[in-house]
Symmetry: D3
Subunit: 207 residues, 6 copies
């Protein structure tokens, strides 16, 4: 008799789950709202779980830091859900250089160590503070911000974004890591040509 | 001479910062999009930093667990920014009971211990898995989900939400912790009256 | 001469109708914003009209009630338009059990009979009332709610949703109609194992 | 002992309910997202229920029809929830004249009688059909549409909108019921001056 | 050594650019949020630049005016970016007839000449004014509006929209340029049949 | 008799106009969605028209350029309408320095002269081109971009934004025009201290 409920309602259950989630099919067509959805019947719990943030990022580099993203491109389970994450590892002296996320606000939680984090508003006001374990800080969408290991030990933070695909524009790479002509950089940033050429050399830029 | 730039552009800087953020004024009028904004000139870095998630929540309770929110009501810096956080502490045997967030998707990252987490879709499919340190899991908006300490030690997780005010509806409190009449509960959940009355007794409900 | 207008403007008309609507192509790729659009030239008025809510749902079941949806999966004309509908039939004694719509708010209008409807807020406050013919009630997004035939005759209501794909999570099916393990249910809901097993038996659940 | 849960979680419940709803305070400041919220502690079930659509609208007028709205201005419970309703009464021969809703899509359900309803797309394609009891039809946002009683009896329909404040622009009132100068109307619609003056006379317009 | 940064961060750069833009692939599947995205590696600066608004539109027609759109269908670079443009040319005596954009608000800037522009609100209040070179005017979403050359020279304006696909419904074409039956027009607009037939004749309508 | 329509419908007209627009009250409370609305009865056409972009900006400064905004703070008529504008004047040799708009995409139309405009994507790809009169270019939200007078005459462009309050972060002012400490700039941008101090000197920064 209760089976009658099952019969009566079961078509609802199969048809309505599109509303719940849209695990990204990285090979399907992509639109302004994100990736196409995997067929619901092929989705498993593993689509909603990601282990790529479990290991310490490789900080043996010049910034002594690493950013490991879990955006929809790495973690398709967040596609369409308005949220994503990344892991920040900062060795002693490590720095996440000045950058923006064009499409999302960010919240950072310090899990280990001490991090000096800050952002600059449109009104050119600087907001920065030294954060300890358990502190959280929010960085409003699209503003320049940075994180610096302010302690004497390895630091670890997790950051979350208000978009599954927040984007990441690192200032130095945007200016010096591509083929943006030196004279355009000079004109639009007032930096000296020598400074520009020096950083282009280090960051692999041309032009 | 460069001062001329400052002069020419400075009015922009003072007028355009409304776009950047809207730190909540908890005493001002509230609208569908959130709290009113604090006057920008009174905003400091401390509005963007919250230390309330730094301490272990009190898990000396029946669920052996604690949820500590940093929603816009606790952390007004996230008002209007589409994101918020909370801290989950689970003592050995601890459980965050079955609940929903009516207004947000959630991503959880395990910082310590092992957590069995899961959700149930509209299609009545269950997705759950044991998560280890560093694993992340996403819970799509509005679906029933839970977290259980699956290890033999204290567990800690941080969760982020795709809204500054995600809401939290804990199933047992919704059903048994208020004055929802027993007969309505019985009719709409098929639970036995004895079961309902037992849980109402424990959770402080009436009716 | 007026033909010149037609000539001048006609290309607008053929290119701009993408903005008007996006009738769902249930066989095309699906994205976070909904189904792909049918080619506009194949769309007819019948794509915007649905007759599936015209007949009384089959209430010969244990809940003596039926929900007939017109979501984008059944009525592709609403795809992308932010709205959908469903029909509720409640025989005498009929009940739409406790449920949520993870992705939409709902408005109900009573067309026949008397319906006791209610919802529970995140603050565990219960809002319920007996509604007569012509009364409307709104259920905010994602909250647990229910409808009970409170009269002595068949009742009929139409409900509308703020999404073409609101989802539907019926509490009992979510808990007892799938393979969610009994011990997880017990831990996360505080229900007695006997109660869980009884309802799993009735609703076809396992685990 | 369970009281400990209540203690531990109760602050959540009081602070998080802003996410659930925002019943409009018609006297408070209004913003782009809608009315300010009533204080949650003053909200009762009556804020979520509206009886104003229960009575037949007065169709003793030239259009032999009546529109009775339940927008946020009449039914503040829908404020911020992305949905609203209205009631359409059409006496025999009644007509809801050509109109648009600038801010919402609409779904109509016929409850009594037969209604010929239609809309015109940006591509100047006309979609109209005779709808019987139980039929539903969707009208995409912002497009000109109309409803005509196509039967020999009184007709009744309920319409829902994808916004709590959809707006309503009735073509004839927009053109002829205000002080839009006759020459501007003539130039922008190609209507004859005599026709314009005739309708201005009937609809109370000047200019 | 800096190469290590490049190595460490480069995978971010290739995977995260979906957030930046979604140049429309006019041949791919279309969804409610717009066109599918061209493959990022095939995108060049020419996808973001459009020269189609550079030439004066052909105003040798009865309205002595021309609208040249740069919506996503003509300028796929704006797909998904929430903005688009069009060019308005008005010869002496030219008129952009009464129309709406169902899906966007509009801002107009006068570049040459004098334009009388106006709109009508839902409250049937008329807002119109003569605009000179450099003046801007905003037309809220979905409302009837018009532009008339109010000077003695050619006029030029650029208009921007809050959507890549704002739609365009020209009142006269909607009513008289298609096969909407005369009796329906008469019933829903109160226009005289003779007037309707006259304009249908001029605008190429039938029915 | 037609007066009956007026009577029957007039209450709609007075109550529904909130949906049309929300002219900003710069002195009222502000929320995440923008300014509070002016009382509709005090709104006139002048609230929707702005003449502040009519005059050439003062380019007698070091960048030989001027940005004149018509954001909601200057032009409250756009509040809540998802769009705004600005005027760019570039004298010969003028430059709008590298900047972002954290909250909006932008479309630029060249009205006079030749402008070299470009942006840099998250993937560190540079898109720039010389634009002539009538050319338009789109700059996706939040990305670094610039405009340079590439001709031998004064240049003029109008830019539109997909938000009434797009924000404006000029890179040099963000880095060198405030009190961001030199060592933080050095660590997060890899610029030489001498370069930083030089630009701080010119732009009025301290720290």
């Amino acid at each position: 008799m209760f089976l009658a409920i099952i019969f009566a309602l079961s078509f609802l259950f199969s048809s309505s789950n599109a509303a719940d989630f849209c695990v990204g099919d990285l090979n399907g067509p992509q639109g302004p709202a994100g990736y196409s959805c995997k067929k619901p019947e092929t989705v498993t719990v593993n689509d909603f779980v990601y282990s790529g943030l479990g290991a310490t990022g490789n900080t043996s580099n010049i910034i002594k830091a690493a950013v490991t993203p879990a955006f929809s491109a790495q973690f398709p389970g967040v596609n369409g859900l308005g949220i994503s994450m990344a892991r920040l590892d900062l060795a002693t002296g490590g720095v996440i250089p000045m950058h923006t996320h064009p499409g999302a606000s960010e919240v950072l939680v310090v899990v280990q160590g001490t991090i000096c984090a800050g952002f600059i508003s449109s009104a050119n006001k600087v907001y920065f503070k030294s954060l300890n374990k358990g502190d959280i800080m929010v960085f409003p969408q699209g503003l320049l911000h940075f994180q610096i290991n302010a302690g004497k030990t390895q630091a670890l933070a997790f950051v979350s974004f208000s978009s599954p695909s927040p984007g990441l524009q690192i200032l130095d790479f945007a200016l010096f890591g591509d083929d943006l002509p030196t004279d355009i950089i000079q004109e639009t940033t007032f930096l000296d040509v020598a400074q520009i050429k020096k950083l282009k050399g280090v960051l692999g830029g041309s032009g």
